[in-house]
């Protein structure tokens, strides 16, 4: 009997585990918008929470094995505080940078969470910001800021000195409509989630347009307001297809490989939470029997990162957790 293979068959992905649960503090997240993963596996997650629960606004520090480390930052306008956090990124020394799209500023913390400095001025001139969204730092420690409201990407030194910019408002090649996420590949290419144009655009390191991936819709390879994205060491591109509740995977040439819709099982902290509440265990059992897909599925995934082991880590925003997948070199049973 012949077996027919279709599509790109050289990759196999496997669900690994889930991390986190809904909490306003401590061992959980609240409306997390982005994360940064250090080489040692420490994860910095920025929590947006919401206005009447400012106690949920902070950066949570955990490990990929779901051990709680600490949290820092708070809701507000003072130094070290933030209101509408969108993105978090690490420099080569492990310092943490956070973008706040309401205050139009970037705040720098040490890896232990101590406030170092802040920069950013509201406006549309060179070096000014209007709703900073995604952040990325290149191998030379320059920081790229997706300046969403100005429909462009700006490059700064780590202390906020303006270097250059690319992009303007529109839908032609190299133009943006309210862009959000950013990722860099090993060769220095820049990938931007062109949020309201429902596409990913690829640029050279100096901002020259090279390619676009995706169009509006919910079909294969189509996108509905993509936000976070990542590129792995093979050049495969992972896109948080936000309003389609999935992550799509594209080959370096833009061809569709596969998608993740979420397969979450209960996380360690999730189990701990339920363990103390027998009524909820019963209720969950009935609900799970009725519709397992609800708990497993991604709900407004908004960020994807690759950790140092090459694992694909997704922020499952509305379910307040991470879903982790692994890419297997050899054929793997799922």
């Amino acid at each position: 009997m012949a077996t027919h293979f279709f599509g790109l068959t050289s990759r196999t992905y496997k669900y690994s585990h889930a991390v986190g649960r809904a909490e306003f503090a401590g061992t959980g997240f609240r409306n997390p918008t982005d994360m940064a993963i250090a080489a040692d596996g420490t994860v910095y997650i920025c929590n947006r929470s919401y206005e009447n629960r400012p106690d949920g606004v902070h950066i949570t520090v955990i490990t990929m094995d779901e051990d709680y480390v600490t949290e820092f930052g708070a809701y507000g306008e003072a130094d070290g505080e933030f209101m509408w956090p969108t993105s978090v990124v690490l420099d080569s020394k492990g310092n943490v940078y956070l973008a706040d799209e309401w205050l139009n500023r970037i705040t720098k913390f040490t890896s232990d969470g101590e406030f170092v400095s802040k920069w950013g001025t509201a406006g549309s001139g060179d070096g000014e910001l209007k709703g900073p969204a995604g952040l990325a730092i290149d191998s030379d420690d320059n920081i790229f800021v997706v300046d969403a409201g100005n429909h462009r990407v700006q490059k700064f030194s780590l202390d906020g000195k303006y270097i250059s910019k690319f992009g303007s408002e529109g839908s032609a090649d190299g133009e943006f409509n309210n862009p959000w996420g950013i990722a860099l590949d090993g060769e220095g290419h820049i990938y931007i989630a062109d949020w309201r144009n429902d596409r990913i655009q690829k640029f050279t390191a100096d901002g020259k347009w090279e390619a676009s991936i995706g169009s509006s819709g919910s079909g294969v390879g189509q996108l509905n307001r993509p936000n976070g994205l990542a590129v792995d060491s093979d050049g495969d591109i992972y896109v948080a297809d936000w309003m389609n509740n999935r992550v799509q995977v594209f080959a370096p040439d833009g061809r569709y490989i596969t998608e993740f819709r979420g397969q979450a099982e209960l996380s360690k902290w999730g189990r701990d939470k339920l363990a103390s509440n027998p009524d909820m265990i019963r209720q969950r059992s009935l609900a799970y029997a009725n519709d397992p897909g609800y708990e497993q599925g991604l709900a407004h995934p908004c960020a994807v990162k690759i950790d140092s082991q090459g694992r694909i880590v997704i922020i499952d925003h509305t379910r307040n957790r991470l879903q982790v997948y692994v890419k297997e070199a050899e054929p793997a049973l799922v």
């Binding site: 929470s49 206005e51 309210n178 999730g270 939470k273 209720q283 708990e295 925003h317």
Partner: protein
């Protein structure tokens, strides 16, 4: 533009929406009354709220579990939606089809229920009642989840007839019997909810309607004189054919959009304030196969709505008070922090949105006002209108300056009343406002210090107007 056109347009936009800035009122008046009515009645002809942007800047609004997020999101829509009548109608149904978070304990279910009112509130009444009767939040709120073939709970059956469709009675007669209540409840047995996920660890799932035939009473029933093997949807069909339902809807629409009627429990014995208006809307109900939109069309294009005698005859409910002031002053357009506090203001004035006091809802009209809520209303209104830093208030001050290089106290007061409504006041109130303005004499704005003084006095006069009894009405 004729003053009466502006006054009429302001009246329409207060009633069919949550008011508007002065600029918008004038633009709509230029467009023409009938054209604006058609826009209001056909929300799909207006731009929709940009849901992607709303959720981008408020990511917690998606599948929002917290009640505060749902209330906040609704208030944002009232302020910003170009489809103003849609939001006004949603509030109308929320005040009739009352269910509350205090029991339901799921903000998301409250949000989903209001969304039914938003999407289906101007359609065929039968469809709306069916959506309501299969809405899990309502099923739970009125105990239909506890009503079983072998152990009946009459609560939903009773409230569907008494509060959601027929009303207790009309023309001094009763509209249904106790037997009808029981039969109605029997017909809705088996209308229940599938098990949802618990709040931990990832949040509740949206509740889902589920019909359980094993728990449904399939026996023959006689309801309002008709005999058959009725299920819930048959009850809704029969109910929607009743003259009492047409009357009930017409009186509610009149009470909400035209002028305050007596409280609902009095409707069996108390005739409508305007019998002909009610009859015209009843006729529209039957002529249009039970369309709420057609009833509203009759209402907004009628003389009884446009007439001077019904203007400022309704006490603003707290939500109207708060949202209309925000719209007048141009605040919270777009996305910004601070909406939570504002969205709680109606609660401080006695209207806890998504959490009415009982299934009978809020007592409206003059009962909105007591010594405590009046202070809240006046404080909020005068804080908003007296804040000359706000864009909308600044624009009103500039318009005041545009009235002339020099204004007498009378011109000044008349101008301020015109721009904040136009508000109609009694001679007594007018006398007091003019007396106050006269203490500091005429107003000029030729140089910087005069402009600053003009601005201060205008803000102060706006605050005084906000504190008048007349400003409590719309």
């Amino acid at each position: 533009m004729a003053e009466q056109d502006i006054a009429l347009m302001a009246h329409l936009l207060r009633r069919a929406g949550f008011g508007a800035s002065r600029d918008e009122i004038e633009a709509k008046a230029s467009q023409g009354y009938d054209s604006v009515v058609q826009e209001l009645l056909n929300p799909e002809s207006q731009e929709a709220v940009e849901e992607d942007l709303l959720i981008r800047y408020n990511p917690s609004y998606y599948e929002a579990a917290a009640i505060e997020n749902n209330v906040q999101q609704w208030v944002w829509r009232m302020i910003n939606s170009p489809r103003q009548l849609q939001e006004k109608v949603a509030l109308f149904w929320h005040m009739i089809f009352c269910a509350g978070h205090s029991k339901i304990d799921s903000g998301q279910e409250m949000g989903l229920m209001v969304d039914i009112f938003r999407q289906d509130g101007m359609g065929k009444f039968d469809d709306l009642l069916l959506k309501l009767s299969t809405n899990p939040g309502m099923m739970y709120y009125l105990d239909n989840t506890e009503s079983h073939k072998a152990n009946l709970n009459e609560n939903y059956g009773r409230e569907l007839l008494e509060l959601f469709s027929l009303g207790v009675g009309m023309d001094e007669a009763f509209n249904y019997s106790e037997d009808d209540v029981k039969v109605c409840a029997r017909a809705f047995t088996g209308w229940n909810i599938a098990p949802p996920y618990p709040p931990f660890p990832h949040g509740r799932s949206p509740w889902e309607f589920r019909f359980d035939p094993a728990d449904h009473d399939f026996s023959e029933k006689t309801f309002l004189g008709e005999t058959g093997n009725w299920n819930g949807d048959d009850i809704i069909r029969i109910v929607c054919e009743q003259p009492a339902t047409a009357r009930f809807l017409a009186r509610h629409l009149y009470n909400y959009f035209v002028a305050d009627e007596p409280q609902i429990p009095a409707w069996r014995l108390t005739p409508p304030r305007d019998q002909k208006a009610i009859e015209a809307m009843e006729k529209a109900y039957y002529d249009s196969d039970h369309s709420i939109k057609k009833m509203l069309e009759v209402l907004f294009t009628s003389d009884f709505f446009k007439d001077d005698s019904v203007r400022y005859q309704k006490v603003k409910n707290p939500t109207e008070m708060v949202v209309s002031l925000i719209r007048m002053t141009g605040e919270f357009q777009g996305y910004q922090p601070g909406l939570f506090e504002v969205s709680q203001e109606p609660k401080y004035m006695g209207m806890d949105l998504m959490n009415p006091p009982t299934v009978e809802g809020w007592h409206t009209g003059r009962e909105w006002i007591d010594s405590g809520t009046l202070v809240e209303r006046i404080n909020f209104a005068s804080d908003m209108l007296g804040n000359t830093e706000l864009e909308g208030v600044r624009s009103l001050v500039n318009r005041m300056m545009g009235l002339g290089a020099k204004l007498t106290p009378e011109q000044f007061v008349n101008g301020c009343l015109d721009l904040t409504g136009p508000v109609q006041v009694t001679p007594d109130t007018m006398g007091q406002l003019i007396a106050h303005a006269s203490q500091e004499g005429d107003l000029s704005h030729g140089n910087a210090s005069e402009q600053s003084e003009f601005t201060r006095r205008t803000g102060e006069m706006f605050q005084m107007i906000a504190a008048t009894a007349e400003f409590q009405f719309e």
